[in-house]
């Protein structure tokens, strides 16, 4: 691998985690992000499952990109994604049935997750296998980071624990609202506003000068 490709790979990787974070910047694939992130461990589970599907579909799509006629490419991509989602679902059911019981149908509907189809269409169908895999890893990590962050905040405030261990002092009265649906919307809204204020916009201002 030459120096150029290495630099490009690094950019792609960081892009997914930070500048084009699928949740906070692109706002794609929000349904599982909010629905299952009641605890940090759920967030980690759905994040890793999404990363697995992203990796598989990006690699497959970039392998077949020259053989699929453009008119039927979307159905082909969806079929590839559905196959990987089925594999992920069966693996989860077999090895971590407890986690699967909590994630439930939200693993299944990753088929129609816009991040996965979006990356297949926007990136993997135009790039080589190696770079597509790196992009999938970056995007997957960015997504996992977001789900774990939201999951941790909701778990700490809503049930006083972190990855299942109690962290709050005795007498802490958990805010039930945080583990109910409204908590998810408020958490992501406030995180997004905070990131805009202190990170993305500040950076853009500096670039503007």
């Amino acid at each position: 691998m030459s120096k150029d490709t290495l630099g490009c790979a690094k950019n792609c990787f960081l892009n997914g985690i930070c500048w084009e974070n699928p949740t906070f910047r692109l706002m794609l694939g929000l349904c599982p992000t909010l629905a299952v992130t009641v605890t940090a461990i759920n967030g980690l589970g759905i994040g890793l499952a999404a990363m697995f599907v992203l990796l598989g579909s990006n690699i497959m799509v970039s392998l077949i990109k020259n053989y699929v006629p453009p008119q039927v490419r979307i159905p082909c991509y969806i079929l590839i994604i559905a196959t990987f989602v089925t594999i992920a679902k069966l693996l989860l059911q077999a090895y971590v049935p407890m986690l699967y019981a909590r994630l439930g149908l939200f693993v299944d509907i990753m088929v129609v997750n816009c991040i996965i189809l979006g990356r297949a269409e926007a990136f993997a169908s135009k790039n080589s296998v190696g770079i597509s895999a790196v992009d999938a890893l970056g995007m997957g990590l960015g997504f996992t980071l977001a789900t774990v962050t939201i999951g941790s905040i909701r778990e700490i405030l809503g049930s006083g624990s972190f990855f299942g261990k109690m962290v709050m002092a005795e007498g802490f009265n958990p805010a039930i609202g945080m583990i109910l649906p409204p908590g998810a919307f408020l958490t992501i809204g406030l995180i997004m506003a905070g990131l805009n204020r202190y990170f993305y916009y500040r950076r853009e201002e500096q670039r503007g000068d």
């Binding site: 559905a82 679902k89 919307f185 809204g189 805009n196 204020r197």
Partner: protein, 197 residues
Amino acid sequence: MEIDFGRLAAIIIAAIFVNNFVLTRFLGLCPFIGISRKLDVAVGMGVSMTFVVTMSSMLTWPLYRFVLVPFGLEYLNIITFILIIAVFVQLVEIFLRKFNPVLYQALGIYLPLITCNCVVLFVALLNVQNSLNFVESVVQGFSAGLGFALALIVMTSIRVRLETAKLPLAMRGAPIAFIIAGLMSLAFLGFSGLIAE
């Protein structure tokens, strides 16, 4: 097939209010946040969504019951359902373009986008998981669509007013939309307890 009207009423109320698919199950958030800016577009999206969800429940139920179950292929449900939905949406699009070009123009890009909307696939899978019968599945599909339309239209009406409000720069756009969704969801929590599960 016998029809239990009490159960049907429970399914309708649950899908529209108690377990509203957008506000308590977080489905279909992309159009909910993305296109809730103009009221007429929101109404169009809500109507076409209701139609597609109802029809896809109608199509996927026989497929599961009469094809997948007899052959022991239940694990293929994700793949077959998404294909059926994609093909059906494509058909509706071709049909509308030919017979009602005005409506087709009005719906524009939103019709094909519905394929990728999680509500449609989720309802199809939920019907199977809860082992509902045919009528119950169709009713659940229809009320899921109505619930989606209700949430989208209320959200859009609020956001239209917000256009003129003075918001901090960082809150503009998506962040404030999420906060509003949170408050709406808080309001919808009031419906929980309406149905004993």
